[in-house]
Symmetry: D2
Subunit: 348 residues, 4 copies
């Protein structure tokens, strides 16, 4: 009953085996090997267009360096007020990009387009004192388990385009969002106006596989230096490539995300059937936020369940009763039907 | 005949298998798992004292964050003028630490203690205009295959102590230096006055395993924030821990370094026997710098040998004749006796 | 009728003459001259305790370097959401300090102590992902013309002390606040728990005279390097010292602030008497925020009045009627009774 | 007998009076006043072409922000190894630009063109590990009192052009160099290929007047943000403008430099006539480096002379005998013939 985070899971066996298979022999370093190049071509295939791909060590690196690549002195990057870049990366996006983050409100973890437009308007390109808009970043799936619809991404992109700003997507849970929408990678990104993507593999069955994807390779040239200066250029880069190779093989990555989302569906369905617990808000990816009696939380923990109690959102101070608690449940490729059933039994 | 770099080798089978074994099951993230803690204790055992250990993605990260942890505004970090931090890290040490590097001369890739003392004296602690000394970093084994003797480290450390400066060791090839000296890890580090160590596993049989080691854990507290802000905190940290676990098991790391150095010994011995080639300077670790006829270099390449031609050191402009070239040969855990024999045959 | 900003005024004649008098002769550079030292002693006298004083070029520099001197990796500095450091300094505080700003709500331009305590609690000292509290900064007088009472400063200081955080005061309009409260400099700063002060002279009759004041000189040692590295160490530092010398002479600085506040009092009184205009909120320093008919604004401009229309505060969207506008009027040492009378006549 | 530095002198009376005259009345802030614009036009006249001008507080700011405006991740700025940016600015150029400095040798304080070309060649535009060339900066007059001839600037500029690199001139003593060469401002700058100039007025009779001059205004757009973020945008900018207004009036700036250089000529001539002292190397601007008996140095100091003893250049370890010392004498607009005569008398 490990629902603490999808990064508590290990590596899927097919990824692990592909990595093991790549461990022998010699290959040129720093991303120049044949395998690196083959996997880069795989990315182009997955996204149905030429892309520039940069492997990095962590999702924080992918987000921070993406934003750094579009920075300006006095620049402002806009994100949702619960976004990972704002809340959970220790200031890394600011540190690497020199661009401050400004947060934008929005229901269900998603930037409200009107609020975004209003906020961007406060930072025009000649605002030497206030600072000027530099980029927008959205998270897909969001930090609270919801997913931007294609139309919702369009709405954001139309604002960034109107303002001449690049649009970045934090795709730490890209695959979970993709299968939730039933869209193709292209449909959810560059066809919507995404310019740069943090493509995460780690949470969905890899050990450590994160990539920055530029949909306009012309704009990626500085990234070679930005990444190296950020100490994110792996010497044995092929070991990241190998993971992605296994990840993409025969659509494994989508299968894993489907499994993970499916386990979350089971959780959601089970919770809706109980009298004691109820969903805090609707989610469609592999995160489930649930309000349960404190006693049930203790029971579940006693039986070995792992999960985090979650802070009550500032915008919903009355969400939770005095003898209740808000918990986050995250499923992964490694979650089993038995895990779900056992957890639901704790709530009964 | 892959002699281009030790980072062209893959992973040793025992490291790969240990990693595979760790791929199943759930474990808490961000370095808090039981395996992370066990491996941290292993470091304490290896170094015969309590240490604080921080896994990072690359050697550049280990060096840069180590220097960042002892930075001061206007600070200067001193290194050898051929050091990796100065020559091959794209300014990352400066970027992360805000401390400039000042280079110091010295024969055979090693800082000359007198030159160091003279240079430090130019940057006293009240030198607001010049800047002030902040740290010293040495590379063990050096960039050109030599190794500081224990006495030579003592000589450097006595200067840093006299000046109240922390001493860092870039140990990207720590194990190779260790077995070349026949010293213990403790003897080559904190017993000599090393304060912080970049402990490299990647070049010696891991996929990606680098650690920052503080010999005074009290001084390591800021590193938690420095590392996270630098986007170097792995979520599935256990996959680094697992590699080190295999690496340390039954002294594997020392065996691999002994093998690697031994292959270099064979190269050195073979070259000394030829008439056509000769060693550029004496080395004892797994790097061999050799002056060979350009025609031999072409022959070797035609037969599939991989190696880099090396820039002529500024201090030795006449090192190489007009029809000769200087090449660097690096051996690794994966180098075979046959590789060495085949290469030597190219020189005959 | 120049009410656009107090930085539109020139220099008071006594400051200008003192500067002229100091223009002859030779003096040692970089803050070491006899005059520099005499003025530093004057600061100690004014504040009734030993202080460390650092002249800088701008208020932005004073604020940014103050916050930089107490920075930590992953640090957060807390300020009011309308603070100058957050709104009008192009990210300089973040740039120099490496610490992000987090904004706190509060009525009338002043941080609400409860909101501050709540916000700080979200960033404890071990919050590697979120970041950790590093400092608090308040503005006295505030950006919207109000002034923290001594008790209100106490309330903020008790929170910073309880959390072990340094407390900075942005005193760009320090003198205006001081005479509004009728307090001594000591009473409004270190006796309340202020650790570092940006002491502004420019807006109150100097040309360019800003100082960072540390109330604990032991904590000021790094500032020598921070300032020089920030390109803020004047060679002919005495020309700043001379301005402060004239500024402090016979209490000139307080007289100027009294005059400036007095002119604002006249504006406030006159506006309260009119039927057509009314004060947007109560202020006591040299800033007056007024809601006037748009037609009156045009009339005043036609007659040569200079002032800024001000954005409607997000928290008070209905503050202003559809044919009204919110304007900011700033008085200075150079504002005359006639200026005030003429402006009020435009509203009649 | 104040020969310590030209920044020990105060302000010339005509500059001081112009500043006094500008102290009355109101003017718009942050560089938008009529006077600011008039002085900007004066710069265009002086340089015989449209320019973009940015006032800043210090020469260090001018240099650092100039280099920051042409920075790249992993960038290297090349300067002479005795340059002010490398030796005396506490790392500010690196801090603001994120570009490391690499020093180049050259006789008499001037970059050797061949050495520059060689060094640049080590940092090509695709050198992700080493870093890449970003800019070149020369100092005119140099730190040791010499001056690049127009041909010598051409030689440097032809290298920067061939490499596609911007060329910056540190003109802290621009006027002294100009009158030494008898060239026009245009001839010594953009007609030679200078792209950006740090134009210093402080050392030559202003209190505080430094400007960054872009010869291609199109490339200056980012500087508005770079300067503000660097806390270098003066609110009462007109007080800098006023100084430059007086400085340029009727060629005052050139007269002052001629006087200053002339006093240095007298020193040089006087020293060459003595038996006891001799010039360390030939200089033509307002700095004179002299080798004198230690006893003469003590005598001069006893009589009130102020000067700095200078470190022996590393390249000329035998420059000075055991009972001699190397001193630097700097003249200024305020140096008198009597000062010179009195100093020379100390050597007799």
């Amino acid at each position: 009953m490990f629902f603490a985070s999808d990064n508590w899971a290990g590596a899927h066996s097919k990824v692990a085996e592909r990595l093991l298979a790549a461990s022998n022999g010699f290959a040129s370093a720093y991303g120049t090997s044949e395998l690196d190049q083959r996997v880069e071509a795989k990315f182009a295939e997955v996204f149905e267009r030429e892309v520039a791909v940069f492997f990095v060590a962590t999702g924080t690196a992918a987000n921070s360096l993406s934003l750094a690549s579009v920075q300006k002195p006095g620049g402002i990057s806009f994100c949702h007020n619960e976004a990972h870049v704002a809340e959970d990366e220790c200031g890394a996006p600011d540190f690497f990009s020199g661009a401050r983050l400004a947060t934008v409100e929005g229901a269900l973890g998603k930037i409200d387009p009107k609020a975004l437009a209003t906020k961007i308007a406060r930072f025009p390109q000649d605002a030497v004192h206030h600072g000027r808009a530099a980029a927008v970043t959205i998270t897909q799936a969001t930090e609270i388990g919801t997913v931007y619809s294609l139309d919702e991404i369009d709405a954001i992109a139309s604002i960034t385009k109107a303002n001449g700003l690049p649009l970045h997507m934090d795709g730490a849970r890209f695959a979970n969002a993709l299968v939730a929408l039933g869209a193709t990678p292209a449909e959810m990104t560059w066809k919507r106006g995404i310019d740069i993507l943090s493509f995460g593999g780690t949470k969905n069955g890899c050990w450590c596989a994160e990539a920055i994807v530029f949909f306009d390779p012309e704009k990626a040239k500085e990234m070679h230096f930005i990444r190296k200066r950020a100490a994110q250029l792996f010497s044995k880069s092929r070991f990241i490539a190998a993971q992605f190779d296994g990840y993409f093989q025969d659509g494994l990555w989508l299968d894993l995300a489907r499994h993970s989302n499916g386990m979350a569906d089971r959780l959601r369905a089970g919770i809706e059937k109980t009298n004691s617990a109820h969903l805090a808000w609707p989610t469609v990816s592999n995160e489930v936020f649930t309000i349960i009696p404190k006693s049930s939380a203790r029971t579940a923990e006693d039986k070995g369940a792992k999960f985090y109690e979650w802070p009550i959102p500032e915008s919903q101070p009355d969400l939770v009763g005095s003898d209740e608690t808000l918990i986050r449940l995250v499923t992964s490729f490694a979650t089993t039907e038995a895990d779900v059933a056992n957890f639901l039994a704790c709530l009964a």
